[in-house]
């Protein structure tokens, strides 16, 4: 077979693959942003539509710990919980950058896990949650490209940002799933109802490889917030764990982010009751209610002191 025929076939194949990628990618994009409930919809709302005064950012711990209703009632400020399961500090920083590029909330609360400042390769993998928003928000490209230089090439595909999300996207567009999710989502906050059946165990905090890129990014974000007069509070919400060396973690936070209000609930005796937790890392409905109420008082001080 001649070269001409070969290259002709290769060209036809390339055109078809590119067309299919374009069409399926567009459909997935449409369906993704059409979701009204669930994980994707909450993130989309937070990044693209939210106008609330108080924004909460963090992982699943933020998502299940900060009761938006209590914050609204006590502060008389609208609030939205933008915490997302399995997404960590880099994701939160990117979220904050997108939100700040759109409007200026009054308060941003960032929930920090005790290992959030460490290098964690998984965290880069989890940034895939941001890929659907990349094209509209080039402001986060530096964070996206931390996944590697090849990400630029992968993102030429229209399907790639929705890779492995088809089932979730499909489910998010079904009516039964909308009804199911309606009960769970309270302005982003998703309460947990189970109770842990375990005793308080000990976890010794050790200083591992600090991720200075992440620290620098957070410092830059905090500076931007200051310029825009957004009040920021870093919070470490309770664990059902007795954390050994917790002061080491708290000191690290003070060392790098000393100019920002930081509230730690590590080893807080008010949260030693297992009935407040769904598992070792997550408060349940009862625990989140208690926690948010206590937090509000501390935040009031923040607003008064730093006005």
């Amino acid at each position: 077979m001649s070269y001409k025929v070969f290259f002709k076939k290769l060209l036809i194949f390339s055109i078809i693959v590119l067309s299919v990628d374009f069409l399926i990618g567009k459909c997935l994009r449409l369906l993704y942003f059409n979701e009204t409930n669930g994980l994707h919809a909450r993130t989309t709302y937070n990044l693209e539509k939210s106008r609330e005064d108080v924004i909460i950012l963090g992982s699943s711990r933020a998502n299940h710990h900060y009761d938006s209703r209590i914050l609204e009632e006590k502060f008389h400020l609208s609030s939205y919980n933008g915490g997302r399961d399995g997404n960590f500090l880099l994701f939160n920083i990117a979220q904050a950058k997108i939100i700040l590029s759109r409007y200026t909330p009054k308060i941003i609360i960032i929930d920090l896990k005790i290992d959030d400042l460490f290098w964690n390769s998984q965290e880069l993998d989890r940034l895939s949650s941001l890929l659907p928003y990349y094209r509209k928000n080039l402001i986060i490209k530096d964070i996206i490209f931390m996944r590697g230089w090849t990400e630029r090439i992968k993102l030429l595909s229209n399907i790639y940002p929705f890779n492995s999300e088809i089932v979730t996207i499909a489910a998010g567009n079904f009516e039964f799933n909308r009804k199911r999710n309606n009960n769970n989502d309270i302005r982003g906050f998703v309460p947990l109802n189970s109770v842990i059946n375990d005793t308080l165990s000990i976890y010794n905090y050790e200083l591992k490889d600090l991720d200075f890129v992440k620290i620098k990014l957070l410092q830059t974000l905090l500076k931007e917030c200051k310029q825009k007069k957004v009040k920021v509070c870093l919070v470490t919400s309770p664990y059902f764990l007795k954390i050994g060396n917790s002061t080491l973690f708290e000191n690290t936070i003070h060392n790098y982010f000393g100019n920002v209000k930081y509230i730690s609930f590590l080893n807080d005796a008010r949260f030693n009751d297992r009935k407040l937790f769904a598992d070792k890392f997550h408060l349940n409905n009862r625990g989140s209610s208690l926690f948010t109420n206590i937090l509000v008082d501390s935040l009031r001080n923040l607003m008064i002191n730093k006005k």
Binding site: F6, V20, D21, I24, D125, T150, Y160, S164, V167
Partner: protein, 465 residues
Amino acid sequence: MIFNSIHFLLFYIVVIILYYWLKRLNLRIWLLVIASCYFYMAFVPVYILILFFTILIDYFAGIYIDKSQNRSRKFFLIISLIANIGILAVFKYYNFFVDNINEVNQMLGIDYNLKYLSIILPIGLSFHTFQAMSYTIEVYRKNQKAEKNLLIYTLYVLFYPQLVAGPIERPQNLLPQFHIFQNLKYENITNGLKLILWGFFKKLVIADRLAIYVNSVYNNVDNHNSTTFLLATLLFAIQIYCDFSAYSEIAIGTAKTMGYNLMQNFNRPYFSRTISEFWRRWHISLSTWFKDYLYISLGGNRVSISRAKLNLFIVFLISGLWHGASWNFVIWGGLNGIYLIVESFVLKKYRINRFIGHLTTIVAICFSWIFFRANSFIDAQKIVKSLFHFKIEKPFIDSPKTLIYSFIGLLILFIVELRQEYFIKYRGFLNNSHFGIRLLGYTVLVTIILCIGVFDGGQFIYFQF
């Protein structure tokens, strides 16, 4: 550099364009040697020196073996074998040896511990060492003339498609191909690209997806029940097959597009009716290596039945140890050796029903995979214990998505392999005579890879060996 990366794809495109652009054989060989060095150095650059060391030793050993007579031939062969096995021993087995010595010392109450070497295992060490050894052994056996061209011999060891995870080639197959100027052939390009595409599908859609589930179970053995272990072990059996055969297919396909034919490494092993058939279909290049260079050297079938069985067992123990410096791998190898010995006696006396044959083969192989996959012997013991007290319980399902996506991939794999095994007269999508149907096949595979392939997946399992 791993095959399932954009880095490799770009590298491959550049190499293949340059390869066909160059019109002189020696320039092409230079290109492939340089490309192979780059490919290998993407892991730990300094380890290329180990390869160069063994290349030089084996190259000269080959020439001297060829030139010499009688005893001297053996002498040069031994030098070559010592160099290769020595490197393997230091880098792969030294810490395992130290670990065991220290353990024994502890048991005997001796307060002395040997020090561990803090080194990273050079990637694919066992593969290229075995390939290098096959060269000197074949020259010694006079099945292969010594290669006079150092550059071509270097390429024989370094050839990037099969450098880090095989197939472990024989010099008789590969070396002559490097002496021929390969013309651009449409069939080579398309057949090679099809293999590469199918390999990517198996790796990204099936193996890496299953790995998510398997890892979450095998890395937390204390938190799972027997039903979960059963499911995870079955899925691991498929994962390791898809992972390793995908690597082989990408390697064979990559070489094919440049006109080189590498040996087949897998032949649908899970369709085997006996364990011996399984080992004729699984990692063929390694199985035949052990048969040709170890089993036959130990006497093969020309000795008494009991000695032949013992030889078989020894070969499988060593094969286990080849895979990894851990007792788990030795047990895995030993188990397979025992299976083969028992099977040979059973098959002599009984005629096994086809279905029973398939079932027992899969059960036995899956059981041995527990030792292969478990992170430690203690973990393997826990899993085996749990399976022996089997209770039907709700299996752990972290994310139904993982199983749904895996099922899509597995269904396609099953249909494709079923056709290849039993309905060979029907043409598959990728080999259909109509271009439109082939095109549909390629497009569907690419789209599935883009939609549900795992792009953040890890290395190939066999890289660690």
